[in-house]
């Protein structure tokens, strides 16, 4: 995968995790979705894709 493809995949996973986080009321699933969202945010930052300081700032 190219860097751009990886970044697109990460952004997609992050958006899906955010959607799960917003949709569920199961604490364990919501927490897992939070962690996924955070790690996607970190990976995007590590590859130079800087949009927001925190995942919360990006999604809200």
């Amino acid at each position: 995968m190219t860097r751009n493809e990886i970044l697109a995949a990460l952004a997609d996973i992050q958006a899906r995790a955010r959607a799960i986080r917003d949709a569920v009321d199961n604490p364990t699933v919501e927490r897992v979705a939070q962690v996924i969202e955070l790690n996607c945010h970190v990976a995007r930052w590590d590859l130079g894709d800087v949009e927001a300081l925190t995942p919360e700032d990006q999604s809200r």
């Binding site: 970190v42 590590d46 590859l47 800087v50 949009e51």
Partner: protein, 460 residues
């Protein structure tokens, strides 16, 4: 099966993408990160909004790195403490609701009131992440195990190193709640690959081992990772630790309120700025950036501290920075020799700047002296002066102390160019420390203590 694929394990760096980016691209990336951070801090931290308003600068006016350098004010520990005092413990320095807290730390308050440090989930992960750059570059992988000779208190200390091992996927072995002798027994039992310690404690364990009849060179430890005080980038101190443990010694330079900002270079002679998560300037007394290659005060901006943002934070640490290519292959800024001293510990002896780390490095050139020493600064006839008290090795007879002192004084004179008095003392006559050693004693009147400006701080 391995946690990482073989091709990934073979990578030299944790983030090969940014750790080898050319300087111009790194700087472009920093500008985007800085603008993001400044907008975040201005929107969320009342303290930062006040600071920027007072300096008549809005986040959108920071369009270039030069704007960042010229227009944004420095911030010092005192301002964070004042903001925290408004409504303890965090006051209006805080930028997140407590729901997002993941862990909190405090400094010891040795220079006044303790500073409170909030970590969010993101900042806790990234404090850990900042250590992994070091682990990976020196060859530590998920299959390795890491021993923490550390008591897990409220001080940040090696907590972030622990977060780093979790992030890497390595094995944590806790030496919390044990005395040094019990830790040595645990090392023999669990056979960890790496140990974390301050340089002082790494050497102190050698004394305990000698008394217990344990040869540290025969333990499983292959890596001694030091932090918390200078030493890992001082060749003689590093060599003493390596000889004692029969292991390689690496360091990380961090600051309690900032995090693990500078992982050591795998070539061991200095540290790199972790440019994924930190921006730095090195400035002179007037706050102007010094050219690469020169020494000044280290000013750090963290992209990690979303709970309590720190932008252009004065560390009061003296470093020499360079953008010259490093032999390890990284393009991240490099600080040969690590931290050279504290701005408030710097001496000017007959016009010559003298750094405590330089004195420490030279002491080891004199056979017969040990790593147990104290520096006493005083002032006389309008000049700073320095006296070194140092213990002799047990195999040196007392009638040889004067000769050793003369030899050490000669080394200082020939290398630094000034006279530094040396008093050689018997073994075990100076205090021992388990964590950070107190080595610098300043007897100068306060008005003569040379500083770049402002007040002192505490290292992580």
């Amino acid at each position: 099966m391995r946690l990482y694929k073989p091709a990934t394990e073979a990578q030299r760096f944790w983030n090969p993408y940014t750790q080898t980016l050319p300087r111009a691209e790194l700087d472009r990336l920093h500008l985007r990160k800085l603008r993001t951070l400044i907008a975040y801090a201005y929107a969320r931290s009342p303290m930062y909004r006040r600071l920027l308003d007072r300096n008549r600068v809005k986040p959108e006016q920071i369009r270039t790195l030069d704007d960042f350098v010229q227009r944004l004010p420095f911030i010092d520990k005192k301002e964070i403490l004042d903001a925290q005092a408004v409504s303890p413990p965090f006051g209006d320095a805080l930028a997140i609701p407590e729901d997002f807290f993941n862990q909190r730390f405090a400094t010891s308050g040795s220079t006044g009131v303790p500073l409170h440090i909030p970590l969010s989930q993101a900042s806790a992960e990234l404090w850990g992440e900042s250590w992994v750059y070091l682990y990976w570059a020196i060859g530590l992988r998920a299959r390795h195990s890491f021993y923490f000779a550390f008591n897990w208190g409220i001080f940040a200390a090696f907590w972030s190193a622990y977060m780093g091992v979790r992030r890497l996927g390595g094995t944590v072995v806790s030496g919390g709640g044990l005395d040094s002798k019990a830790r040595l027994a645990q090392i023999a039992q669990y056979r960890p690959d790496a140990i974390f310690a301050t340089p002082t404690y790494a050497l102190y364990l050698g004394e305990v081992a000698r008394e217990a009849g344990v040869d540290l060179r025969k333990t499983s430890i292959s890596y001694v990772i030091v932090a918390g005080e200078p030493g890992g980038s001082i060749p003689a101190t590093r060599q003493a630790i390596e000889d004692l443990w029969g292991a390689k010694c690496y360091e990380l330079y961090g600051i309690a309120e900032i995090g693990p900002n500078n992982p050591g270079c795998p070539l061991q002679e200095g540290v790199h700025l972790c440019e994924d998560w930190y921006h730095a300037l090195v400035v002179d007394e007037q706050g102007r950036p010094v050219p690469y290659g020169e020494v000044g005060e280290h000013i750090v901006t963290s992209y990690i501290q979303d709970g309590q943002p720190l932008i252009k934070y004065r560390t009061h640490d003296l470093v020499r920075w360079t953008d010259a290519p490093c032999g390890c292959g990284q393009t991240w800024l490099y600080y040969p020799g690590g931290v050279l001293g504290r701005t408030d510990h710097m001496l000017i002896i007959k016009g010559v700047n003298v750094y405590p780390s330089a004195v420490e490095a030279l002491l080891h050139r004199v056979g017969g002296l040990t790593e147990h020493y104290e520096l006493h600064a005083g002032r006389e006839a309008a000049n700073d002066f320095l006296t070194v008290k140092v213990e002799a090795r047990p195999d040196v007879a007392a009638d040889g102390y004067a000769r050793l002192a003369r030899e050490a004084e000669g080394v200082f004179k020939s290398v630094i160019g000034v006279t530094i008095g040396v008093e050689v003392q018997p073994p075990a006559s100076l205090p021992r420390y388990e964590l950070k050693a107190r080595r610098f004693f300043d007897h100068r009147p306060a008005e003569h203590r040379w500083q770049l400006a402002g007040r002192g701080g505490e290292q992580a």
